[in-house]
Symmetry: C2
């Protein structure tokens, strides 16, 4: 549980938590890795969302997941990527969320994930929640909380001051 004052400040601009699907780059699970390699090199993201043809969320794909397929015993084979599908190597066990505005869940899961795919009940990919947007909310909280609240130690009953 999060204290209601803290929760209120963290979620003041919560509409910014969701980066909508329309502006999030993706690849299709039916794409081959050669195509995905071009996309990930160009957009420079560490990880990208994988969808199916109906816009349903299927998993995540990173550049290392692709490049490790290129290694043969003695050489690196780029052509091999054309015969492997995104679905064959993508990560399918990454946590997803239904509600981008559940800040407690966001903070918990983003400890170990760079971003969280938001997936509707019917499987539709809605967008992502990133560490970046949560850091903005956190900076607001830690910088401005004592403008709106007195913060009093339960031991000393002293009001704390800005340093």
């Amino acid at each position: 549980m999060i204290n209601s004052a803290i929760k209120g400040m963290l979620t003041e601009n919560q509409e910014k938590f969701l980066i909508p699907a329309a502006v999030v780059a993706n690849v299709l699970e039916s794409n081959n890795l050669y195509h995905a390699f071009l996309v990930l090199t160009k957009i420079k993201y560490a990880k990208i969302v994988v969808l199916n043809n109906d816009g349903k969320y299927r998993g995540l794909l990173s550049l290392p997941m692709i490049t490790e397929q290129m290694f043969e015993t003695e050489s690196i084979d780029v052509e091999k990527l054309k015969s492997i599908k995104v679905a064959d190597v993508m990560q399918t066990d990454a946590p997803t969320i239904a509600d981008p505005y559940d800040v407690e869940q966001d903070l918990h899961l983003l400890t170990d994930q760079p971003f969280l795919p938001v997936v509707a009940e019917n499987g539709d990919f809605t967008g992502i929640v990133t560490r970046r947007e949560l850091f903005k909310a956190i900076n607001h909280l830690v910088h401005d909380m004592d403008e709106e609240y007195d913060i009093i130690s339960k031991d000393s009953k002293m009001i704390t001051e800005r340093e």
Copy 2:
């Protein structure tokens, strides 16, 4: 400025903020990109620290910085990576910090960076501060602050409760 109570809670376990250099993977600026490509594929990090032969911090290198060098007009050329040095393509303008325990600066810079290289005054690479460790401190703050402090609205003088 951050309120002293908030700062105190965020920095309670601050010794964990610094991941020491000894356990952080790196490549040398004199390495060729073929070597760096193998390293980054194997460790699966999005970005890696670049050092010189004396252990001084020089920059950051990501897998897309390498793979974009492989693209020719009509094909992908892996062999080309053997003739390019890490120093030729690394990022040199990423922010670095001197003090890993300055939580205000950490929270500010980590909004836009996945991690912060810690660099001593003499240029020695000391380690990194990651978003992951700061998220742990933030989760402690938002979950436990009202066990140690009363948080009272300046308007209503009401003590807020856990939801």
